[in-house]
Amino acid sequence: MLKDFGIIGIFVLGGLFFTGAALLTNWIIRPKEHHNENATSTFECGLDTRGPTWVQFRINYFLYALIFVVFDIETVFLYPWAVRFNSLGVFALVEMIIFIAILALGLWYAWKKGALEWK
């Protein structure tokens, strides 16, 4: 197990090396003309860009995000249950049905409350 993740660690380092090498090759053999003001300006459709970009972005979907966290944690609970499902018997099935039913109820409540609308 440790060996497997060691190899994945090598893949992380190798990925850095590979992408770094690609960017370096590009940097070495690129045409070295001087870029003028316009070439390095922020892209906009013909006009100069107006106002700052790094602003407080209004995220319309933050209610989705809140429900997402709940369901993501539910996923963490469901995966071990699914692996052991065959050996656990009917009790586990009923238990999990109750567990999912509570969350489905939550989803239904959020739905009725209008949290799943793009506002």
Binding site: D4, G6, F11, T42, I59
Partner: protein
């Protein structure tokens, strides 16, 4: 005698298990990197030919047999392009993003089963690992969108986040049925469990949900919202040029193959098949799956972001929960009627 001694010590050095595994890992990495490079060239050619085929054009046919060398020239062009970095970008985040996007792709390739006993790492949490790693790319895309300091890029990046919080849940839920049937998250175990019947026949609902969410995960039309060309120029890759753009492009095509490979492994029996060697079956099935993805991609128009979220939360999540219930009850009924046999 002295030199002999020396050779023995070098041999001992390589016999050291840590060094040995390190070398094996490096060899694996080199093999996968070479595989991805060749694969992307084939996929780029295939994508352009398939697109042309669907639009009643010829596509690239000039260079090489059937235009197969076209992507090679494209790649050479991309590497030798001018390296324009806009002066307003956040340099660190902007430059790191393409590297991270490609790295997540590479990590997915580490856990795919390419054939019988042909895996880089055979993780016992394979499915969970693939879900986790493939969704990490979202952070890299958001980094690119934010770091570019461009309004189109920012909107593209924000849309990626909106997408992941929608499709991630049905994506993960749709695979639960398979894990319940197999009793394991190991990719090889899942393939072996499909010896008699492919899971696409036992889990048709899960397959539909999986394919829709996989298209969203790939950022392909109908869910190509983060890089919607007609609205956002190129979305989060607007400010990228040269090889930085090339890496994102490379990762995009490589992702298409890895997602098809996951679909084949989980639903179509992976590398299993008669007569031909297992790796060839894997390639045939996966390329057919890639063709299917391209088919969807060039057929359906883009969906609006709020409709996309609505589809995921109000249709796909209830469907995938229903699928878990049906699978659970089905397995228990099967066990009840046939004694305690697994599927």
């Amino acid at each position: 005698m002295d030199s002999n001694n020396n050779i023995t010590s070098i041999w001992d050095f390589f016999q050291n298990p840590i060094i040995m595994n390190l070398l094996i890992g490096v060899v694996y990495f080199a093999a996968i990197a070479a595989f991805i490079t060749v694969l992307v060239i084939i996929l780029m050619w295939m994508d352009r030919r398939v697109a042309a085929f669907f639009q009643e054009r010829l596509g690239p046919i000039k260079y090489g047999p059937q235009g197969l060398l076209q992507p090679v020239f494209d790649a050479v062009k991309m590497v030798s392009k001018g390296n324009i970095t806009p002066r307003n970008v956040d340099k660190l985040v902007y430059n790191l993003a393409p590297m991270l996007i490609f790295m997540t792709t590479l990590l997915v390739y580490a856990a795919l089963p390419y054939g019988k006993n042909l895996t880089v790492v055979n993780l016992n949490v394979g499915v969970l690992y693939l879900i986790a790693i493939s969704s990490t790319a979202t952070i890299a895309i958001l980094m690119g969108g934010w770091g570019s300091n461009n309004k189109y890029s920012l909107i593209g990046g924000m849309r990626t986040v909106a997408m992941i919080i929608s499709y991630e849940i049905p994506f993960a839920f749709s695979l639960l049925g398979i894990i319940m049937l197999t009793g394991s998250m190991n990719m090889t175990d899942i393939i072996n469990a499909q010896k008699n019947v492919w899971f696409v026949f036992l889990q048709p609902l899960a397959f539909v949900v999986f394919m829709i969410t996989a298209m969203a995960e790939l950022n392909k039309s109908p869910f190509d919202l983060p890089e919607a060309e007609s609205e956002l120029v190129a979305g989060f890759i607007t400010e990228y040029a040269g090889m930085k753009f090339g890496l994102v492009y490379l990762a995009e095509y490589a992702n298409m193959f890895s997602m098809a490979a996951i679909a084949v492994t989980l639903f179509f029996g992976g590398w299993q098949g008669p007569l031909l060697p297992s790796w060839l079956w894997f390639l045939i099935k996966t390329l057919l799956m890639v063709f299917f993805i391209m088919w969807i991609r060039w057929t359906l128009p883009r969906i609006r972001i709020d409709k996309m979220m609505k589809l995921n939360w109000k249709v796909l999540i209830p469907l995938s929960i229903l699928n878990i219930f049906l699978t659970g009850i089905g397995i228990k009924l099967y066990q009840y009627f046939t004694g305690m046999g697994g599927v």
